[in-house]
């Protein structure tokens, strides 16, 4: 019987000196102990362990039992309540081992268990072993910082493959136990953080640098996973949102350890701390972006942030983070709008028209709006598209006239999307309107600057061959702009310069548009006729999936609506030309 075997080996060892234990004894002890556990004699094993006489044996050999013990405890957990007392005994054994065993070996034994777990067992195992691990670590004399770092890194590495709960329901359910586990890990780290803080207060000498660095690495890692992609808003019905709690604790630790949020790395980042430069450089962009989001949008730790920075500088510093967030959130196809929220937070601090155009010389200031355009045109999630458009609008509003001008130019050249181009053209019209109606004139939306901008607007990208249907948004907006110009700006004033450049507009825009309209209309009319005559069903494949066949009626409908668009364009075009003609005739200007 297992218990007898155990008694036998114990009795043999009781009379030996510590230094006389042999390898064989270790093996026998482990095998017997394991068997006791497997056969359900946990209570008896506990008795043996608690026996004062066996103290030395347990100190040396006890750690061998960690592995079977953990296996047992986790197995009991999955079964029903009647095994509760056995589980209870096992837990007590674990507790005893933690008290009695040699810390160094026990530490490795515990860590090994965490290393070997995977999948849905990760969180239960980690939760079970955190407390013992903490106790052991606090007892360790040598290499404590290294061991704490190793433990935290190991735990985080094991957690990282787990999916982060996303919806409210998932968070409440916490199927894999990740939410609970994260908060347990932070509690685990607390005494070590406090130790660092205490030592920092005691002396300015950095004797604890190593531990501090390990803990900061952990915080940075946590910011990247799970916080970067986690739900961080308050949720109705969940009193203590686990990720918010976790985030608070992490930030508190970061702040306590004086990882002060300085700046001054110029455009790169404003979290400077020379001691941790390597942490900062390596892989920390995501973490810092998350930290920034938590501080500015969620106000975690904002109390420790210097309150003397100018709003434009804050925006400048955050642009890098916003860019990082946009990329990460697109990559994860995230439903959350962290990048947009951080952007909004920074922009709302600024007054309209107050952002100097020179900021556009920073790469992020040009990149972020282009990224937003990509989200607006490519993202499948509607509220993100809408929010991005709002942010783009807000961003444009904040710039001075030259900034708006440059931004328009850039977006016209880079968006590759008729809808966005149409939107920008409309914005240009608004700016011209402001320049013409406001008392002080604005050089950027009148005369030669405007003309060079109009060159980008009033033309057809591929002349008469341009796909008018695809570009209809852009073309309609351009025609509207032109109509506005010829109505609003008297040819005698010619404030906008449109009358000077009329010949060019005719050549690059109006004439090819006429030709294009005629060609397109003829083509679509022929197509309709064709379709009516031989009614065939076409099939269409989109990314290897066959789309439902379009009936001839549906096809005809599409073709008719195209024709309708052409008619619309044509009527506005006619109106514009009429206006031009009238005005030209009246003054005798030759176009």
């Amino acid at each position: 019987m297992a218990v007898d075997e155990l008694q036998a080996i114990i009795q043999r060892c009781q009379i030996l000196e510590e230094s006389d234990f042999r390898g064989e004894d270790f093996n026998l002890f482990q095998v017997a102990g394991q068997k006791c556990l497997e056969d359900g004699y946990a209570a008896q094993l506990l008795e043996v362990i608690q026996n004062e006489k066996n103290k030395v044996i347990i100190k040396n050999m006890g750690w061998n039992l960690i592995s079977p013990l953990v296996r047992c405890i986790l197995a009991y957990k999955q079964e029903d309540d009647k095994r509760d007392d056995k589980r209870e005994h096992c837990l007590k054994i674990l507790d005893q081992l933690v008290q009695l065993c040699n810390p160094k070996e026990l530490f490795l034994g515990l860590l090994e268990q965490i290393e070997q777990t995977s999948g849905e067992k990760v969180c239960p195992t980690v939760m079970l072993l955190l407390q013992p691990l903490q106790t052991v670590l606090l007892k360790l004399q040598n290499k404590k910082a290294y061991s704490v770092g190793l433990s935290l890194a190991m735990i985080m590495n094991q957690l990282t493959p787990l999916p982060v709960p996303y919806t409210k329901q998932q968070i409440q359910e916490d199927k894999l136990g990740l939410c609970q586990c994260c908060n347990a890990v932070v509690d685990f780290a607390k005494p070590f953080v406090n130790e660092v803080v205490k030592n920092m207060e005691k002396s300015s000498e950095y004797n604890d640098m190593e531990l501090k660095e390990e803990l900061l690495k952990f915080c940075m890692k946590s910011l990247k996973y799970p916080l970067l992609t986690a739900q961080l808003e308050q949720l109705e019905g969940i009193e203590e949102q686990p990720f918010r709690h976790f985030a608070t604790e992490i930030i508190v630790s970061v702040v306590k350890m004086n990882y002060i949020f300085l700046h001054h790395k110029g455009k790169r980042s404003y979290w400077e701390n020379q001691e941790f430069e390597d942490i900062e450089r390596k892989n920390s962009a995501d973490s810092l972006a998350c930290l920034s989001y938590l501080m500015f949008v969620q106000h975690f730790g904002i109390n420790c942030f210097p309150m003397v920075f100018s709003p434009s500088y804050l925006l400048q510093c955050n642009m890098t983070h916003i860019e990082v967030l946009v990329v990460v959130f697109c990559l994860f196809a995230s439903f959350f709008s962290h990048p947009q929220d951080l952007f909004e937070n920074c922009l709302l601090r600024m007054e309209d028209n107050s952002l100097l155009h020179q900021y556009l010389e920073f790469r992020d200031f040009i990149n972020v709006p282009q990224d937003l355009v990509k989200v607006m045109t490519l993202c499948p999630i509607e509220h993100l598209r809408k929010k991005s458009l709002n942010m783009l609008q807000l961003f444009i509003d904040k710039f001075d006239a030259e900034g708006k001008y440059t931004l328009f130019r850039c977006l016209l050249k880079t968006s590759n999307h008729a809808g966005v181009e149409g939107y920008i053209i409309q914005k240009i019209k608004d700016q011209i309107h402001l320049s013409l109606t406001k008392a002080h004139d604005n050089v950027w939306f009148t005369r030669h600057h405007l003309i060079s901008l109009l060159d980008l607007v009033l033309f057809l990208p591929e002349g008469a061959e341009t796909d008018l249907l695809q570009n209809s948004d852009r073309i309609m907006a351009s025609l509207n702009l032109l109509r506005y110009l010829v109505i609003k700006d008297c040819e005698s004033d010619n404030q906008t310069g449109v009358w000077t450049t009329l010949a060019k507009i005719e050549k690059n825009f109006l004439k090819p548009l006429h030709v294009g309209l005629n060609m397109s209309k003829a083509h679509y009319e022929a197509e309709i006729k064709n379709k009516r005559e031989n009614r065939r069903v076409y099939s269409l494949t989109v990314s290897e999936e066959k789309m439902p066949a379009m009936t001839t009626e549906m096809q005809l409908q599409v073709l008719h609506s195209a024709l309708f668009t052409f008619d619309l364009i044509e009527s506005v075009l006619a109106r514009v030309e009429e206006l031009i003609e009238v005005k030209v005739k009246a003054t005798g200007i030759k176009a």
Binding site: L111, G266, M307, E351
Partner: protein, 438 residues
């Protein structure tokens, strides 16, 4: 009386005193920032624009509520003066301070956070009260490597800087060891100052200057005339230089997104020539700038026609290969390897790319990797004698390296062995736990 009760009225008294007899220090004389000196400085020097300044401060709202204090964080607050990093009141206020001075500032919202406020601490339209102590300041370290220190004598206009390739008109005076060796008005393209005997540090600094700015630049040897010195001016090797520069005007080079593909390709041909010219003269930093332009224009360009794409790839390949060569000469081996990697990404069997990567790795003491590269060179071109001899260099170096390691560790190992033997005797009967973790 507790401290809290004590400071609150004090704060209000200070604010009232400021409003009454504070000095208006705004350029507009609109009483937007009022100042009283609490303790005069011990030095007569004030910080210059762009200087890195170290302060301790405490900020309060009109109701006396403290909203921020650097002392609570136990660390001085550092920022660049006059660059718009901080609220306007601070840029104005700190510039008037002397080293060691403590002063009170009362700031109207227009000089602080305005109508928007700054959530969550500063409400809309808040007047702020600060106590500021100027601890220290120093010239701006332009590249954070101590190589170029700038002190601005007169601030330029706006925020716009010349970029690489911009045409600038400047006045400069160069000093070395207190003697003036150069004084001229000159117009040139940023990145090509060498054509006018202007060291690279000036090109680099110009990219951070504004129109009308007048500053003093302290250049380390790397940003000066380097190891070669400048015999024309009688400047020795590795000399430190001081320049006084005024940026009179400039015209920026086009940004990448402003150029179309055709223009980029045309320009690429021109800068490639220029880069090669600098390279031949041994001006590697200058050559890097020229080749770098090709990369910045063409690396991310897409939507090219087949013909354009071919031309673009050939420019990029040449640029990466030449950059690799420059970095080898500049002893920046990691960058050299990066460039070779990119070149090999375009043409995986490129002989020069492989050879140069081998060279760089050899110099980084990565002998095995270097050897691989040279062997690949031989696969591509068995006639390459240089590669053949490099392989034997690699082998020799590996051997030497191993020998040296052996010598270094030999002692250590003997000691370990002795200690272990002792331990073994002591614990001969005790089983040592073995673990897979560590």
């Amino acid at each position: 009386m507790t401290t809290d009760e004590g400071t609150k009225p004090e704060g209000e008294v200070q604010a009232a005193a400021l409003a009454e007899r504070g000095e208006d220090i705004t350029p507009a004389r609109d009483r937007g920032v009022l100042k009283i000196i609490k303790r005069p400085g011990n030095d007569d020097e004030s910080p210059m624009i762009g200087d890195k300044v170290y302060v301790h401060y405490k900020g309060k709202l009109a109701n006396g509520k403290k909203f921020d204090s650097s002392r609570d964080r136990n660390e001085p607050f550092v920022f660049s003066l006059g660059k718009g990093q901080v609220i306007k009141a601070w840029d104005i206020g700190v510039a008037t301070m002397k080293k060691g001075e403590v002063c009170y500032l009362l700031c109207k919202p227009e000089y602080a956070y305005g109508a928007a406020g700054s959530a969550p601490k500063i409400p809309s339209n808040a007047t702020l009260f600060f106590e500021v102590e100027l601890l220290d300041f120093k010239g701006e370290d332009l590249f954070e490597d101590g190589g170029i220190i700038r002190r601005i004598k007169r601030k330029g206009e706006g925020y716009s800087n010349p970029n690489e390739g911009a045409t600038v008109e400047i006045h400069l005076e160069g000093f070395c060891g207190g003697t003036r060796f150069d004084c001229k008005d000159v117009k040139f393209v940023v990145g090509e100052g060498e054509d006018h005997d202007i060291p690279i540090g000036i090109d680099k600094a110009l990219e951070k200057m504004q129109r009308g700015e007048h500053c003093v630049l302290y250049l380390g040897p790397r940003y000066g005339f380097g190891e070669a010195g400048k015999p024309k001016y009688g400047i020795q090797a590795n000399a430190e230089l001081v320049y006084e520069v005024t940026l009179k005007s400039f015209e920026k080079a086009k940004e990448s997104w402003e150029m179309d593909t055709k223009e980029k390709l045309e320009q690429a041909a021109i800068v490639k020539e220029k880069g090669t010219m600098y390279f031949k003269e041994g001006k590697y930093l200058q050559a890097v700038i020229q080749y770098g332009k090709i990369v910045s224009w063409l690396e991310m360009e897409y939507g090219l026609s087949e013909k354009e794409s071919k031309a673009s790839d050939s420019f990029l390949l040449a640029a990466f290969l030449n950059l690799a060569m420059c970095y080898l000469k500049l002893r920046e081996y990691t960058k050299a390897v990066e460039c070779c990697d990119k070149a090999l990404g375009l043409d995986q069997d490129n002989e020069k790319g492989l050879y140069r990567r081998g060279e760089a790795r050899l110099l980084m003491n990565e002998f095995e990797l270097a050897k691989c590269d040279f062997q690949k060179v031989l696969e591509v071109n068995p006639q390459n004698k240089a590669a053949r001899s490099q392989i034997s260099v690699c082998q020799k170096k590996t051997k030497e390296h191993n020998e040296r390691d052996r010598r270094i560790y030999a002692n250590m190992f003997t000691k370990f062995a002795e200690r272990d033997a002792k331990a073994l005797i002591q614990n001969s009967s005790k089983q040592k736990p073995m673990h897979g973790v560590l």
